[in-house]
Amino acid sequence: MDSLFAVEKLTTPLEEREDIITVRNLNKWFDDLHVLKNVDLTVKQGEVVVILGPSGSGKSTFIRTLNALEEFQQGTIKIDGIELTNDIKNIEEIRKETGMVFQSFNLFPHMTILKNISLAPIWVRKWKKRKAEEIALELLERVGIPEQANKYPGQLSGGQQQRVTIARALAMQPKIMLFDEPTSALDPEMVKEVLDVMKTLAESGMTMLVVTHEMGFARQVADRIVLFDYGEIVEIGTPQELFDNPQHERTKEFLSQIL
């Protein structure tokens, strides 16, 4: 079943695995506004990292710099051995390896679900149409909505649409999945179906970076939690460390506000 993914589930403990994302000394400004301050982060293969933080803390901006949807001014980002530069070829190469799920779905409204998923594999990965569509159907099966293949995005509920975007990102067989607040735009009763898919994905060994406000998900699924505030990383730790024994004053304050 996991043959669908480019990644294999590793059994080695996290510390012994190779780094797949390395961010060093990352700085970004919007004009004069310093939105990312000396961010350092290393993510291991197959690791699930949840990024928490108050709104406006730069967590979304951070995750978007990783696949060059935002530019940065200082520092280095290395993804799967490729250093992110301004070279467009380089950027496209990194984008092929990183799937992204947006808060507002961003499905292509003029195409059927099947086409939404198979378009990039056909044109970017240059797969045969049949192969791409087979994989698309298989992925739809996996996210639980195979019967929606020939509908248009507008005909689906929010939760279904978000599951399609996950399938669409997975169809490119990425090594890393980035989630930018995937459940924030959903009606409450649809949050669970999306989180369930993400949980399954995490269990299958995918490397995931998740910006979210879902504390339950963070506690249950994350290997590590990163707390952002004012554009810098305040604290990094396992869920137990961070939730039960936060070290930093700002972490305590943030947790007290949401728990």
Partner: protein, 400 residues
Amino acid sequence: MDTIETVKNKQSVTMKPPATSQGKLGWIKENLFSRWYHAFLTIAAAIVGGYVIVQTFQFIIAADWSVISANFRLLMVGQFPIEEIWRVWASFCLVSILLGFSWGIWKGSIGHVAMTIGAIYVVMACMPFVGMNTRVLVLSNLALLGVTYIVGAKVPRVKIPVLLLWVLLIPLCILLFNGFGILKPVGTSFWGGFLLTILLASVSIICSFPIGVLLALGRRSKLPVIKWFCIIYIEFIRGIPLITVLFVGQLMLPLFLGDGVQLDNVLRAMVGFTAFSAAYLAENVRGGLQSLPRGQFEAAQALGFNSTLMMVFIILPQALRAVIPAMVGQFISIFKDTSLVAIVGLTDLLGMGKKLVANPDFLGKQMEVFIFIAFVYFIFCYLMSHVSRRLEVSLGVGKR
């Protein structure tokens, strides 16, 4: 607690909407005579409307349409030599055949176009003033349309040749009029009437579309040279009247180029219209591009599409679809604007009309001539607007 229980147990009842119609009389009373001033306005409008309709019909019946019948050929094809007129008929037939095949193959909106053209054929054949020859030819075109429809529906394999022929249609027709270098060439100075109108319009519409899209994309480009070229071009063209562009083409260009270079009159007009229309289209398309949420671009980029693929598959289909009404408006406008060539010495449909009313034989017949011309323009403009509405429906613009 109690209320919640009752709501739960209660069967949900679906009711019909309350009846609103009180019969025709009720409707009339409700909508036309509900207040005294409504009644007054209704009666006044009925009197004015009735007067206009009666007058119009009286004019149509009393008018002397012989000016149209005597000059029908001039109005349609201008000075095109009569012994070479079969070329026009040949291109006519080609259009009928292609239309029939496309109707058979794709059905849908093309059917509406085909049926409208068919209706025009029938009307033409029934007109009292057309000659017997014309009548037979028009009716055989109608037959061609029908036969090819059936063939197209039965043999969908002809799809690719039909598409190819559509693309080549205009160049083929122009070559045919020019004689392919084999037949005796019919110079563009002999092209006139509605033939010239439709050639000018279709060439400028077809050519300005891709140029307009490229200009719109260029205006959003990150490369400063391309961006500024597009901005300057668009703003410059939009800043001058169309008639100026045509005058520059017809009068100034020969001066600049000197005697050595001979550019055809009609070609110059076509270039002028294309250049002009492209600038306006570019702004329409840019509006469509701006209407797309940024997320569409980001999603495409995040999937690894390069900018060409992103434009072709994600952005342009949505952007163009959003501006179909504006674009068709521009097409209709350029179709009507072709009548401006009458001012720079080409005899299109309107130019021919002006020449006719200047002829002492047809003194005082301008009403008939201009009403006929207006009618021809109206039919084609309405056809375009109708097709665009069908296109919107079939592409599902409204339902998103």
